[in-house]
């Protein structure tokens, strides 16, 4: 569904992504894990057209999206849920959801139907639909952000740190939601620091380190990989022959 090849990205003169190639198949959950500053968020931003890439190609459903504006990419069905500033605080929950559908207003699925689906997934949003988003708790805001993205009826969702700053019980609820969205047919590219939970629900994953992909495998393989543990905890040996 998504094929990324040799992407390079910079912040000024500093290179943050180095020839990244990866792919996501339809109906997969693929995760990108790596330490802070590894380039995960930048990679999502490049794919969704929010950050320029210097080289490489990014093909979404057979369309080269390089050079396309971000809203055009959303209209193709590739929607990112950002890490922060996910919702518009002064607007009500309902208005936020309406905004999410804006770019896909000519869709086959009627607006009301989409709203209904979101409320089924997140009953709490239905209860709070008249309240300003700024009044919601962290977990509720995260759900609203996801709901807003779903209003665009995306074919593929890119989630940036959906568990960030959430209480542990909400975190597992969040992962359950991601998994159930996937079961309903959504393709998901997930960026997370919470590697364990993420890999547990992922079909496949890539490990990013200093702007490079250094490991790939199935979720289970990566979960059991010593290298992955080191990617988060740092090198735990001095000599290769240590046991």
């Amino acid at each position: 569904m998504l094929k990324v090849k040799n992407i390079e990205a910079f912040f000024g003169e500093i290179q943050v992504l180095r020839h990244i190639s990866l792919h996501v198949e339809a109906k997969e959950i693929v995760s990108l894990i790596g330490a802070n500053g590894a380039g995960k968020t930048t990679l999502l931003n490049v794919i969704s057209g929010l950050h320029p890439s210097r080289n490489g190609s990014r093909i979404f459903m057979d369309v080269e999206t390089r050079g396309l504006r971000a809203e055009k990419i959303v209209a193709l069905g590739l929607v990112q849920v950002p890490e922060t500033d996910k919702v518009f605080n002064p607007l009500t929950v309902r208005e936020n959801l309406e905004l999410g559908a804006y770019l896909r207003r000519k869709d086959a699925v009627p607006f009301g139907e989409k709203m209904k689906r979101v409320f089924e997934l997140f009953p709490i949003l239905e209860k709070r639909q008249g309240q300003p988003a700024g009044m919601l708790s962290g977990g509720e805001r995260q759900m609203l952000a996801l709901g807003k993205a779903l209003m665009g009826d995306p074919k593929m969702l890119m989630l940036d740190e959906p568990s960030l700053g959430l209480a542990p019980t909400i975190v597992s609820e969040m992962f359950r939601v991601v998994q159930s969205l996937n079961r309903q047919g959504k393709t998901i590219l997930l960026v997370e620091q919470n590697a364990r939970e993420t890999l547990r629900i992922s079909h496949r994953g890539y490990v990013l380190d200093m702007g490079r992909i250094v490991l790939s495998g199935t979720g289970e393989e990566l979960l059991n990989n010593e290298e992955v543990k080191r990617a988060f905890l740092g090198k735990d040996y001095h000599q290769k022959w240590e046991r």
Partner: protein
């Protein structure tokens, strides 16, 4: 025709090449950051891992040779710390420093799958009883058949190097349906039966899976017609995985290389130039997923050619032709590799013999089952009494058995 992993084995060439590039970039990143040998190699060539943007860019990396592996003995080529390694292997019979190959748990899992892919491709299933008559001591890949058979639910009888008669008795009594061994050993079993005028119809064999040495088509025909089986080949490279790099399918028109894990190239062994499809040359392999022991452009010394035409079996994986030649002087005797360098090394432990020597192999049907080493000897030895010569000969033979693992004949000559 049955396929174990159709997602991969029948993937479109375009998608396969994309997967290879993705994995190649990862292995290059790993090799560069974790293996000093490769970091130095890249830095000295002024090459950055970031410059590998296409599969063709691979050609910018220089070859890795057996000598590199020996020079970096023991753990210099490892890309992971030893604590991630669950298997260490070293092939016997190597000269100089041995080669130590490490595998992580994931590497072994991949290896298991690849051998199982070959088993499934040639029609082995959970109803089969596989008799593994490889030398478990000298051929380190033998144990892989056990694990891969378990993966597909077949039963395994590791008969190892039991004598021909015992092999036949077990085949009869246990109703083995698959025989896997070095082809020369299968011929030996066949001859044992012929000598005793046993009826091959008393066996339940239906498939033969052979490898670890080169065997011409006429050997396949002889085994197929005598045992009334379908005989197939499995191929491997000791320094990567052996067996399991490639294997035949029922179409018997070449060995499918498992390109999702190994990237093959064919080069001119003299110039290093990459040769196109169909051209014969030295097989060079790059590991795409090996975690513990990544090898970039490893020169295998095996001579073959490649084609990526789709096979009637439906697999899109490229096929290599049977390996019948080597680019080095190594000889293979009953499935055991013998390097002339190793022979010289053994001879250096004795006074008055060597270093001049030549390896003379004898065998039937293009395979070797006897090795005679003709050794240059001093006049003192040549003129010595017969008992003295015999005693020295026996000492040298014992040294070879210890060093290489097989019995050889020794002949003293003035010059070779």
């Amino acid at each position: 025709m049955p396929i174990l992993n159709p997602n991969i084995e029948t993937m479109s060439r375009k998608e396969l090449l994309e997967l290879q590039l993705e994995r190649l970039q990862i292995v290059v990143n790993q090799a560069y950051s974790n293996v000093d040998f490769y970091r130095k190699k890249f830095d000295e060539a002024g090459l950055s891992p970031d410059e590998i943007k296409t599969l063709d860019d691979l050609r910018r990396i220089s070859f890795t040779t057996r000598k590199d592996l020996m020079d970096n003995y023991p753990y210099g080529m490892f890309a992971v710390p030893l604590r991630d390694v669950v298997r260490l292997q070293f092939p016997l019979g190597m000269y100089g420093n041995p080669i130590v190959i490490g595998y992580t748990r994931e590497d072994l899992k991949m290896w298991n799958e690849l051998v199982a892919r070959v088993m499934v491709a040639i029609g082995i299933n959970e109803h089969d009883i596989i008799q593994v008559a490889f030398n478990y001591g000298l051929f380190i890949g033998a144990v892989r058949f056990n694990q891969s058979a378990e993966l597909i639910g077949a039963a395994v009888i590791p008969t190892s190097i039991a004598s021909g008669e015992v092999q036949v008795k077990i085949m009869q009594d246990f109703r083995s349906t698959v025989l896997t061994s070095a082809p020369s050993f299968a011929i030996h079993i066949m001859e044992t039966m012929q000598k005793k005028e046993m009826d091959p119809k008393t066996l339940s064999l239906r498939i033969g899976l052979f490898g670890a040495e080169s065997w011409p088509e006429e050997v396949r025909q002889a085994l197929e017609s005598y045992f009334n089986i379908q005989a197939y080949e499995i191929f491997g490279v000791t320094e990567l995985i052996e067996p399991g790099v490639a294997g035949e399918c029922m179409a018997k028109n070449g060995l499918h290389v498992f390109e999702d894990h190994f990237l093959p190239e064919i080069i001119d062994p003299n110039t290093g130039e990459v040769l196109g499809e169909g051209r014969e040359g030295e097989l060079v392999l790059t590991t795409l997923t090996n975690r513990a022991y990544p090898l970039l452009r490893y020169r295998t010394s095996d001579v073959t050619s490649l084609t990526s035409e789709v096979c009637p079996c439906g697999r899109t994986l490229a096929r290599m032709s049977k390996v019948l030649k080597r680019t080095d002087q190594m000889v293979c005797v009953r499935g055991i590799n013998v390097f002339p360098e190793k022979v010289k090394e053994v001879l250096s432990g004795f006074e008055g013999v060597g270093p001049g020597c030549s390896l003379v192999t004898q065998g039937k049907r293009g395979m070797n089952d006897h090795l005679t080493i003709r050794v240059e000897a001093s006049p003192g030895i040549l003129q010595a009494r017969e008992e003295e010569k015999t005693s020295l000969r026996q000492k040298i033979q014992l040294a070879f058995r210890r060093a290489v693992g097989i019995g050889v004949e020794i002949e003293f000559v003035r010059e070779v």
